[in-house]
């Protein structure tokens, strides 16, 4: 039986009272998840300066080749450009659609456009809404073509670089590109982009899935 005098209560009873009071007080408050965000421009500037907000084309190629599913790849160009060519597993989102596009603020998001201007602007829009996991594909689709699809694998690679050259050649072929060797035939393949459908060798995960790498 509970004593009326709180001094005679056991520690468990006291803890229960504290929990009940905190629970009752919680009825008054409502933290709004995903609500108001304060934009810290100084913090944004620091992020831009430290260059932690982007991934390189080669990193992205490795992620796709590994079948990683803990990030979302968004193509922020217009629909026609997307139909013409896009990086395998990318989701088409125009700048206008970005505000209503179903994304979670806990997700890692990689944005790309042709160069880097649109993706940088999209990055700002997302950061302003608290999507702290948004990053930019450095150099955009141009870098993807130059570094992944049609990498310049010059013959004068040192022994150390041979392995990485082989890896890059493999990645290039995986995504339907063709490495350029040396300066002899510079810019030969630029004209013909691989078909929109990813090459059969790439096992591209369905991108609508949520990341499952977290949790217990």
């Amino acid at each position: 039986m509970k004593s009326v005098d709180p001094r005679e209560w056991s520690i468990n009873q006291k803890l229960a009272l504290v929990a009940l009071s905190l629970g009752a007080f919680a009825l008054l408050g409502s933290p709004t998840p995903g609500g108001a965000v304060t934009l810290n421009t100084q913090e944004l500037a620091a992020i831009v300066e430290s260059e932690v907000d982007h991934v390189t084309a080669e990193e992205l190629a490795e992620w796709i080749a590994e079948g990683r599913s803990d990030y979302r790849l968004l193509d922020v160009r217009d629909a026609d450009s997307y139909a013409e060519y896009h990086i395998p597993s990318a989701e088409p989102v125009t700048m206008r659609e970005l505000n209503d596009y179903p994304l979670f603020r806990s997700e890692k998001i990689v944005l790309y456009s042709d160069g880097g201007i649109h993706s940088a602007q999209a990055w700002f829009l997302l950061r302003a809404r608290g999507f702290a996991g948004s990053t930019i594909l450095l150099g955009g689709l141009h870098a993807w073509m130059d570094d992944v699809l049609f990498p310049d694998l010059s013959a004068d690679a040192s022994l150390d670089q041979v392995a990485s050259v082989e890896r890059r050649r493999a990645l290039s072929e995986l995504f339907g590109g063709k490495p350029r060797s040396g300066s002899a035939d510079a810019e030969p393949a630029k004209a013909k982009l691989p078909t929109v459908a990813p090459p059969a060798a790439v096992s591209v995960p369905k991108r609508r899935k949520r990341p499952h790498k977290e949790g217990c």
Binding site: N12, A16, A19, L20, L22, G23, A24, A26, L27, L28, G29, S30, P31, P33, G34, I47, V52, F104, R105, S106, G130, A132, G133, R210, E214, G215
Partner: protein, 201 residues
Amino acid sequence: MSAPFYKYGLFGDEMSLILAAVIGIGFGFFLERAGFGSSKKLVAQFYFTDMAVFKVMFSAIVTAMLGLFYLSWAGLVDLSMVFVPPTYWLPQLVGGLVLGFGFIIGGYCPGTSLVGVATGRLDALAFCGGVFGGIFAYGEAYPAIASFVKSTPMDRITLDEWLGVSMGAIVFAVVLVAVLGFWGATTVERKLARREVEASV
């Protein structure tokens, strides 16, 4: 400064793994100190003779819930960035029942079996073998059951969203259920203890 620290890039992958190890060891330590390295103690829960599992776990839930609620209210934690596993109600219901049966039969849950192994219990070691065997079998069978695992999706959903009430109301309800549960559990324990005494006389 705001949490979750990892999501805000306060530290990288390596540091997050180190911290996970530290927190995991702490978790194991307190499970052991609560007596959960022993399958006898754990199984007593299901005979209502020792409600320690219920009390410890519910205390942890209430503590974490109140902490997260008030920290996010104070603007120190961004709950929208905290990972919430997506709900697939039917497969998760079935999985919960499978885990529950395993808990009753084997005397451990996955976490406590590791605690039992750490303190050298052979039954825990056997249980762990079963856990890893089960994980392996699940992985091998996954292509066949994938459509079931992904059925009845409800996406990322929490109780307050599902019931359409405020988060504070859920917090209050859970605390109320916990306190009533503690009171009920203690009453049941006393009753059963008395009956045992009477039976032995």
